[in-house]
């Protein structure tokens, strides 16, 4: 037999429902914050870690970073409501047994208040807390570039993931946005935002090569961003990531798209099976996911992933040393 443990005060309840009606889950942002939440500040972070534990002996790191500048319109808010389901989707059909998910946000380091925000890798819904702490920029540089290179630099040199280090198995990094990266990782910005003291700037393609040793890297371009249809966007990211550029026509399908991409890459499913699973869950994301992943599915067999796109290796020695 139970007991009346929860308050039944009529005034508390009214206030509670009002507070939760249409209230933004970006609680930190909407409370008027103007600086990066301390929990998401990359400055001085040695490593964000994804570690095996007794409970999660076979961890797999999954990072999702999205553009929070003005060019993305309402996209970040939609992402924020959708991404908490990602863990459940990965687990439900056993695509990944022990995912550890990290959320973060990318802005423009040349002009933004919060150019890079990175949470922790979490195995449960504590990751939602990080989503709630993300500051939405709304600004952006105006030159169709954001500091993705800085984000990729951080992921390459300031994350430490057991799936790769113990088992040689790559983690996953999904970036969601509609702009280009800057061509170089600027050493001054690195010092300012992350706190590393670099001798010189690092070319963005070198960072990508370094990053792709450790992560399967995907760039998702959602419809609804200002620049989504710009051909330079597709050329730029395809040059860096090859087929790992996904176009998504319905942002509501973002979790399903990420989950199926991972499922396919882990050889747990092919696209058709994944779409069957979505139908089974009652998800109506199938058509959008199918359009986003059709090319990936066609090019999947055999799975060929080079450490860097071939055309990036042309000039000069590559730096892949991890600090």
């Amino acid at each position: 037999m139970g007991s009346g443990i929860w308050s039944t005060d009529v005034y508390d309840a009214a206030q509670s429902y009002r507070a939760r009606t249409g209230a933004s889950a970006f609680a930190y942002n909407d409370s008027g914050a103007t600086t990066t939440h301390p929990g998401l500040d990359p400055k001085g972070v040695t490593f964000r870690e994804s570690r095996d534990s007794d409970e999660h002996p076979d961890s797999l790191a999954v990072a999702v970073l999205f553009d929070v500048t003005g060019s993305m319109g309402r996209v970040p808010r939609i992402l924020q409501t959708k991404l908490p389901d990602l863990l459940g989707l990965l687990l439900r059909k056993g695509y990944v047994e022990h995912p550890q998910i990290m959320f973060g946000a990318v802005g423009d380091a040349t002009c933004d208040r919060a150019p890079l925000q990175v949470g922790q890798f979490e195995s449960d819904n504590r990751m939602d807390d990080d989503l709630g702490r993300i500051l939405l920029e709304g600004g952006g540089g105006g030159q169709m570039m954001e500091s993705y290179e800085l984000a990729m630099y951080f992921m390459a040199r300031h994350t430490s993931i057991d799936c790769f280090e113990k088992r040689g198995r790559r983690g996953y990094l999904f970036m969601i946005g509609d702009e280009l990266a800057y061509p170089k990782v600027d050493r001054r910005l690195v010092a300012e935002v992350i706190g590393d003291d670099l001798a010189e700037d690092v070319r963005t393609e070198d960072v990508v090569a370094e990053l792709r040793r450790m992560y399967e890297v995907y760039f998702i371009i959602p419809e609804g961003g200002y620049h989504s249809g710009d051909p330079r966007l597709r050329e730029f990211w395809q040059g860096l990531l090859g087929e790992h550029v996904l176009y998504l026509d319905d942002l509501d399908a973002v979790c399903e798209t990420i989950a199926l991409t991972i499922g396919m890459n882990e050889d747990a499913i092919d696209l058709a099976e994944g779409l069957d699973h979505l139908a089974e869950f009652g998800s109506d994301a199938g058509p959008s996911v199918s359009r986003a992943l059709a090319r990936l599915d066609a090019g999947r067999s055999p799975v060929a992933v080079s450490s860097a796109p071939a055309d990036l290796d042309q000039d000069g020695p590559r730096r892949t040393r991890r600090l």
Binding site: D9, R20, D85
Partner: protein, 434 residues
């Protein structure tokens, strides 16, 4: 894809919450929704996550700590929007920010209001020492009012029609104050309308057909409240709850949707009872030694009592439910540490040895009351301590599919029946089904 119904075979508090949580977090199949099919906000299903977070589930399904798992409150649930808001606030504090987004409520479900609560408390106070052990949450009053005035009982869907809601709540409040002029806790109707309307705007109110879609989309767990021995028709009247606590409501919902489910009965390795009423194997020494972390003495419910494993009562529960497919046994850590927990397979009543209680037809409360009088004079016939798992399997004829050795998700050990999909050689057939 296997749907499962989880029902407590005792007096409640056996650990349905922790079993439902395990099925959702670690079970053999990824559960996507929990359906509540009886009781209301008075349920108190305690779940402790492996990271130490603790929540007492009352209306949200006990699988809510697992991301993505939904809750559906069926029309058999008595929905209390005020308690629901407080429960959601606590879930949000634990990091579960989308509990409302994962909730659907059947529009036909009756509403529990402050006026029901006020009437229930006033009535229980008037009973004095003969009180029934109500939770003071207005559950019984909600049922009584819905039966006596079916057209006037406020339902969830009315929260979307403020004018109608105002009329129904006003009529209810007037009736309560007429019967109990001094009843406490009867806020102005307007304030109540405001809170209930906000509830109606925030949660997804759905029709009865919604459940069929849930059942098609993936494995669902039906989470029962209270225990079979408290059932309104088969419990020991009048010390019962005004709710069908057997598998019946869940089976009705499943039949409407053209689906089936496995029946999982939950029992403790020993017995407990919260509140007054017959409790043959009660042992004051155990009550003193085995306090429950999450169940104290409630002002409305009375004391939390502890006794030895009562196979007569559990066999009776099994018979009135029509049988189960498997058992989940909890608190085995306590049983392991207490070597003196006894087993009772028979009672002595008026000098006679009784090992089976007669099962009557549903609805004959005189008969149930007579049974209660006999039980109040019954003495337990004990056997020496035995392995509770073996005793239960042999007496109830159902395999033990889950053993729980502690409050957390990781304290559970599944048996063959609940193993991950794969060969299931040696699985016992539906045991005990009549």
């Amino acid at each position: 894809m296997t749907h499962r119904i989880v029902v407590d075979l005792g007096f409640g508090d056996a650990g349905k919450g922790t079993v439902v949580d395990w099925l959702c977090a670690r079970g053999p199949e990824p559960v996507h929704a929990v359906v509540r099919f009886n009781g209301g906000a008075q349920a108190a299903h305690n779940v402790v996550a492996d990271d130490g977070r603790h929540h007492t589930f009352a209306q949200f399904g006990s699988g809510t700590l697992t991301p993505g798992v939904r809750t559906h409150l069926s029309r058999f649930m008595l929905v209390d929007p005020l308690a629901l808001a407080a429960e959601e606030r606590h879930l949000a504090a634990l990091g579960v920010r989308d509990a409302f987004d994962r909730l659907t409520v059947d529009g036909d479900a009756p509403l529990t209001t402050p006026y029901h609560r006020a009437a229930g408390r006033a009535r229980e106070i008037a009973r004095g020492a003969a009180r029934h052990g109500s939770c003071g949450m207005g559950i019984g009053e909600t049922m009584a009012y819905a039966l006596a005035h079916p057209q006037d009982a406020p339902r969830v869907a009315d929260c979307r029609s403020p004018l109608r809601l105002r009329r129904l709540l006003g009529g209810l409040r007037d009736r309560v104050l007429e019967e109990f002029p001094d009843a406490e806790g009867t806020p102005p109707v307007e304030d109540c309308v405001e809170a209930f309307t906000a509830f109606g705007e925030r949660v997804a109110v759905v029709g009865g057909e919604h459940l069929a879609g849930l059942l098609r989309a993936g494995p669902v767990v039906f989470e029962g409240a209270q225990g079979v021995l408290l059932d309104e028709w088969h419990g020991f009247h009048p010390y019962t709850t005004w709710s069908t606590t057997t598998f019946a409501n869940a089976e009705t919902l499943l039949a409407e949707a053209g689906a089936q489910a496995e029946r999982l009965g939950v029992v403790r390795a020993y017995m407990t009872r919260h509140g007054p009423g017959p409790f043959v194997t009660e042992d004051p020494a155990l009550t003193a030694d085995l306090p429950d972390r999450h169940n104290g003495s409630g002002p409305w419910q009375g004391a939390f009592r502890v006794g030895h494993l009562d196979l007569v009562a559990l066999r009776y529960a099994l018979e009135v439910t029509g049988g189960i497919d498997a058992l989940a046994v909890t608190h085995l850590d306590v049983a392991r540490d207490r070597g003196d927990l006894l087993v009772c397979r028979a009672y002595e009543i008026d000098g006679e040895r009784v090992d089976r209680l007669p099962v009557g037809p549903a609805g004959d409360l005189d008969r149930q009351e007579a049974l209660t009088r006999r039980l109040l004079t019954a003495r337990p016939v004990y056997e020496p301590p035995a392995d509770p798992v073996q005793a239960l399997e042999s007496e109830l004829g159902a395999p033990v599919a889950l053993r729980s050795h502690g409050p957390a998700t990781s304290d559970k050990t599944p048996g063959g029946v609940l193993s991950p999909p794969g060969p299931r050689a040696g699985r016992a057939g539906p045991a005990g089904r009549r």
